[in-house]
Amino acid sequence: MKRFVLRFLRSPEGVAGLILLSCLVAMALLAPVLFPRDPLAIVGRPLTAPFTDASLPLGTDRLGRDVLAGLMHGARASLLVGIFAALVAILVGAVVGTVAGFAGGLIDEALMRVVDAFQIVPGFLLALAFVSVTGPSLPVIVFAIALGAWTGPARLARAEVLSIRERDYVAAARVIGMHPAEIAFKEVLPNALPPVLALVSVIVASAVLIEAALSFLNLGDPNIVTWGSMIAEGRNVLRTAPYLSIVPGFGLVLTVLGVYLFGEGLVEGMAHRRRRQ
């Protein structure tokens, strides 16, 4: 573990990603402290340009809402959606993959066809359809994104389980009379998990983007600030107040970049560990 951390810290991508992500997490955690008011509150003259008013460093939008407060609170929404969507996707994917791989036979066939069915629909379309039917709110959006993202972890988990279940210690567990479910989730799953976890960064990054895209299409939760909704608002005044789109767009780019680099670092660290094994 210590070596893994060392390796991670030696990879430039990992460090850069870690720094970016730490900044984001700090922003998200500090948002309610620095801006205790609702970030959607009207606090100043509409369309104040950035760097012109010390109390509103990044200016205001068309209704006079503080852009900096929106940016900070938006980081919260983005990270929340990203992390929870990834969590749900990995959880569901790992369980389905493990059951399919371990049980085999008909159950495997049935579950994998379900996975296929979900995989042929692009994740964004699935989320779009789901949100427009159920109406936008944060939990719905998290679930909608996870809906299109759980198939990757499921297939990967299944493949890992297929190889692990033939190992000697699994056979030993069978011999001592452990329940198959116990073997699957206590013995097999923990060992199948690490490569599946490597998918987290991919899922978080795409979840952040999908959430932004949904908000951009006015399918986000209208009661919270998200970067996507800020960009959508700003798009109307793109030619007169471009900063309204650029500022949250920048946040979005840095988040996705940070998550991606962090993921690269993780893979790097793990790859070294594996080679050693």
Binding site: D38, I42, G64, G135, P222
Partner: protein, 536 residues
């Protein structure tokens, strides 16, 4: 109002005559325009049915009003603020049971057949009354149309029908169809609905789906020296950002109905060779309204509704949401309907302290978290302004301790939630004032309307006094007495707040400076453009 299309303009059909701007800038009077030229206009939707006699909606009128004419058009002056078109005069009987129209002589259809009173009688009985979204209301009691000669049509009504309402409805509901093309056919599916034949200054030439509509000059038009233009092309530009760039590149010369977004107007008004025209929409007034579900016990309390009215800063809404292209509203009739507008109504100035006091009085003190109660707000998705006002309203109500949750829906889901399921507390709506309160305004507050009727009172509001006034006005033939009843109507609505009127707005036109006579009548964008010309 049953016919419904999902498009910016199609949403709220039609709008009627009568409206005078008190002060009109000099730019608007008639200019002498040269003959000839082709005008290219941006169109943002392609109506499936181009027949304005069936679908009286602005999206349809925008194109077909140049081809098919009504009996009279709205005007800035003239008798009853109407300009004669196919009818030259109209007179209501004293008992309100008949209206006599004298028709224009020497008018021919685009296919050469003469226009007669038989066409008017046929259109009224077979199309306007049974098929048209607004004609169904206006001509509900029309019994028959007599045609004593080719140039006289007498409308007979079964109950007294106010001539005032008929007059105000003329520009919108009376598009005359050629009887010889429609008689004996299935009117709703007649091919002429998509390639209209009329008496107007322009003939319908062709429609290329997704590309354009082309209209050409009617050389046999009855108007002397009209039309000016040789050709009008409606280019389909559904992307609203594209209209502004196309204007700048001179690919199109005109974009009406605020196709260029408000936020772009300041920039585009400085582009040499382009002009921004706000005139020409006086009779097409949209109203920004907070509709209220009176089934909610909290909102059934007048004090709460008054508090909400006091919590809204109308001037802020006009200045930021509409960037000044709107006016604060005082009641259910807009100020640019001077025939009816009553300024003497209870007003609700922006006053947060008063709103707080009213809510305390009503028995809703602030809780530990500063909130008094929760409401669910459904902003109509029809316009970016209605959505943005929803965002503002949430903040404005937060200031007085009302915790609002916005529920965003797309158009079909919104209409279902509000008008069929009544699944809302407050909603932001955008009804249209169509020149006469009886056409589409009284329905917003009247009780006893079936569930599921769009743009009507679905908030469960019932006020016997108001219902009585509405019923009386519907049968009052005398214009003055009827106007007085509508003055009372406005006073009661503004006082009892079945809904809260916030602002009223029209649209803007952006045109090349070469286009002459833009916006010179109160329904200009949906009028016949016979005097519109292109300067060299």
């Amino acid at each position: 109002m049953s016919s419904f299309q999902i498009s910016r303009r199609g949403l709220l059909q039609g709008a009627a005559s009568i409206a005078l701007l008190s002060a009109l800038p000099g730019a608007v009077h008639a200019q002498e325009a040269p003959q000839g030229g082709r005008l290219v206009v941006a169109a943002d939707s392609e109506p499936r049915n181009l027949n304005p006699a069936i679908v009286a909606s602005n999206a349809v009128f925008f194109i077909s009003s140049k081809v098919i004419e009504p009996l009279a058009e709205a005007a800035l002056d003239g008798e009853g603020a109407l300009a004669p078109r196919l009818a030259t005069s109209w007179e209501g009987a004293e008992d309100g049971l008949s209206v006599t129209f004298k028709l224009r002589e020497g008018v021919t259809w685009h296919d050469g057949k003469p226009f007669t009173s038989a066409d008017v009688a046929f259109s009224a009985m077979e199309v306007w009354k049974p098929l048209q979204n607004l004609g169904r209301i206006v001509f509900a009691n029309l019994e028959g149309v007599d045609t004593p000669d080719d140039l006289t049509a007498v409308f007979r009504f079964s109950t007294p029908t106010p001539i005032q309402m008929i007059r105000n409805a003329l520009p919108v509901v009376t598009s005359v169809l050629p009887k010889h093309l429609y008689e004996g056919t299935d009117i709703a599916s007649n091919p002429a609905n998509n390639a209209p034949v009329g008496t107007g200054p322009f003939k319908f030439a062709e429609h290329r789906p997704g590309e354009y509509y082309r209209l050409t000059r009617n050389d046999a038009y009855w108007g002397e020296g009209q039309p000016k233009l040789d050709e009008i092309i409606f280019r389909i530009l559904p992307d609203r950002a594209a209209a502004a760039s196309a204007l700048e590149a001179d690919e199109i010369q005109l974009a009406a109905f605020s196709q260029v977004p408000l936020v772009d107007l300041e920039r585009i008004s400085k582009v040499p060779g382009l002009k921004v025209v706000t005139e020409g929409y006086e009779a097409l007034t949209y109203q920004l309204v907070v509709e209220i579900n009176h089934r909610n016990k909290i909102l059934a309390d007048l004090k709460v509704r008054q508090a909400i009215a006091h919590a809204i800063d109308r001037d802020f809404v006009v200045a930021t949401v509409f960037l000044g292209f709107a006016a604060p509203a005082t009641g259910p009739v807009p100020q640019n309907a001077p025939e009816f507008y009553n300024p003497d109504v209870p007003e609700y100035a922006y006053d947060v302290d008063k709103a707080n006091a009213l809510l305390d009085e009503a028995g809703y003190p602030r809780g530990a978290d500063g909130n008094r109660f929760q409401l669910r707000l459904l902003p109509a998705p029809f316009f970016s302004e209605t959505r943005q006002f929803g965002d503002y309203l949430r903040q404005a109500l937060a200031d007085v301790g009302i915790d609002v949750t916005i529920v965003a829906n797309d158009t079909p889901a919104h209409l279902k939630a509000v008008y069929a399921d009544h699944d809302f507390d407050i909603t932001v709506g955008s009804p249209v004032f169509r020149g006469d309160p009886a056409i589409s305004t009284t329905i917003l507050v009247q009780s006893g309307i079936a569930d599921g009727v769009f743009f009507s009172n679905q908030g469960g509001y019932a006020n016997a006094e108001l219902d009585a006034i509405i019923a009386e006005a519907a049968e009052t033939v005398d214009t003055e007495a009827r106007t007085a009843l509508y003055n009372d109507f406005q006073r009661i609505v503004a006082g009892d707040l079945p809904l809260i009127n916030v602002a009223e707005w029209g649209f803007t036109t952006v045109a090349s400076a070469r286009v002459a006579n833009v916006g010179n009548n109160p329904r200009w964008a949906v009028s016949n453009w016979a005097d519109t010309g292109l300067l060299p």
